[in-house]
Symmetry: C2
Subunit: 352 residues, 2 copies
């Protein structure tokens, strides 16, 4: 079966569970007060609005790579990373001052609207969004503690879970710096990718799932050899889509990285070989808050003609191959293995 | 021995451990990049700058109420709530737009200074402070997972830990609302107190410590009877100090609650019995961003002459007594019991 089909199957199972989870929390929040209910309603809509659920699927299939049992508990476990991801996105959106996420308003924008008649809607928007994000992180940890799985495995999984969150937060802060620092190098960028994607998006979730199944340190190391190149490929594809994708399909504004002045590999490589005048053009566009469609087109043109786009595209393919090769000799249960091999192809071809 | 002495003894043990903890994290952050090191340095200074360490001491003595062993592990465990508390304060300070905390700059203010030559220092200040807070929460969870204590107890403790964080976050959001809603009642206020202090400051830490020692559900219930009234007393005393305390001793601005328009019990009771003109005076001062010393004095005068101050002071004493009475028949180990009885007196008399 194709990875895309396996991912769809997984999504069809996890979405109702997420909905159920939030409905339970809403019921409990009713005992507190209406504003708490409102917060969870917003978080529910935000979390269910979209998302590929790749991280959650990797927890699920990470477990399935070693064990075939416990369907209910492992599905529940996999929700934790979706909640944590929503938490990170909510805080990220405040930081990036983005109004749109997954084709809908960001949480601080929703709250800004709720408090539009107060004296400082913007500040209230940020304030409630900070707390709403925090609460999702608490929920995510609570879910992991409540699993009906061996305590030893759970503790280890919670440790990995919080470790990757702290790593991705370092990555986030480096990422903000990339828009401030003038001398941000491709080595700095690799560090951001490693922290934000390789460990957080691919390796971490896989390790959490495998750990819950009782996998050994040795097995985790094998999974890392698969996860690290795949994580890099995922991030590079993200950068490509962020510049060349379609806003409607992607669910977020094209050119955000440019607007925030972020130096993706596409930009770094283009700057290295572009003509002096093209270099100047890119530099003048980077960090421009009032980016126009024409300017985005201009950057696309330079990134394409310098060969920078091709370099990133080729790298995505090469890293995907590297990932697949790494598990060809590893003994994994069928359903897990099938997904891991398939997803490596899928991630490089994805359009959103 | 007096509770104050026991608290000092505990502080002398925990502060070097916190320092050691942050030094380890700084060492690890060096492998990432200088900005991550800078973040941990700021968090270290902020966490070590002050604080009563009451929550952490309650984890410690909660354990000591049932067991006398494992000094090292239970001290380590108790650090978790100090890190979580710093996380909550950092986010709280962004929300309250406070520049001062524990007699030093708040984290968003420190970052604002670091980025003062960029185009938007205020936004960068908030952004990095959000992430810095988040990272402390991750650290707190990591500490709990790494304890050398029975896994069953650890899992339960992590569950309580994250549950009280999510409760306090609900309390926080209600607290912001109190400055927006015009019809904020004393019942709403009680809810805020319950969420923000009773469960989070007293009951939660006690339960975490007791759970790590393997205490039964029955024992936890007994501790709740002590914790809930004490938590209320603690919050009321906090409100009194926030209006009548000394800024130098307290380490934060006097009158913050007034400035933020928060309706403490002191204000609610004063409004109920004050003359119409005094009521008007309070209403005009509540939420005033440019609060003067004279205005604070005026509110103090009204709160005193209406008897509202006395009501709160008496309530603090009564709740302290209630707490002590509740554990007089409970069988607790000596060191834990001594602390719990003593701290109930101490909290009502504290000056900061």
């Amino acid at each position: 079966m194709q990875a895309k089909t396996l991912l769809s199957e997984y999504k069809a199972k996890i979405e109702p569970l997420l909905e159920q989870f939030f409905n339970d929390k809403i019921k409990k929040a009713k005992a507190i007060d209406p504003s708490s209910v409102e917060m969870i309603e917003l978080l529910k809509e935000f979390t269910l609005r979209g998302g590929k659920r790749i991280r959650a699927a990797l927890i699920y299939y990470g477990y399935r790579s070693f064990k075939d049992d416990n369907e209910e508990e492992i599905l529940k476990a996999s929700m934790s990373i979706e909640l944590a991801h929503a938490f990170l996105l909510i805080h990220d959106d405040i930081i990036d001052q983005d109004a749109l996420r997954r084709s809908g308003p960001t949480i601080h924008t929703s709250y800004q609207n709720i408090f539009k008649s107060t004296k400082d809607p913007k500040h209230y928007g940020i304030s409630f969004a900070i707390l709403a994000g925090d609460i999702l992180y608490a929920f995510a940890n609570e879910i992991l503690t409540s699993l009906n799985l061996p305590e030893k495995n759970k503790i280890k999984a919670i440790q990995i879970f919080n470790h990757i969150i702290h790593q991705v937060l370092y990555g986030e802060s480096l990422d903000i710096l990339s828009s401030i620092k003038t001398n941000f190098t491709s080595k700095d960028l690799e560090q951001v990718h490693y922290l934000k994607t390789a460990t957080y998006t691919i390796e971490g979730p896989l390790h959490i799932g495998a750990t819950l199944a009782g996998a050994s340190q040795h097995h985790l190391k094998d999974l890392s050899k698969y996860a690290i190149p795949l994580g890099k490929a995922f991030q590079l594809q993200d950068d490509i889509l962020g510049l060349f994708g379609e806003e409607k399909v992607l669910g977020k504004p094209i050119g955000s990285d440019l607007r925030e002045g972020k130096k993706t590999l596409l930009i770094i490589n283009a700057l290295e070989t572009a003509s002096p005048s093209d270099q100047k053009t890119i530099q003048s566009i980077l960090g421009n808050q009032d980016l126009t469609e024409d300017q985005i087109d201009k950057v696309r043109e330079i990134v394409t003609k310098t060969g920078s786009l091709k370099i990133s595209q080729d790298l995505v393919k090469q890293l995907g191959k590297e990932a697949k090769a790494s598990i060809s000799n590893t003994k994994l249960h069928d359903r897990g293995c099938e997904f891991l091999l398939g997803i490596a192809d899928y991630l490089a071809e994805r359009k959103y």
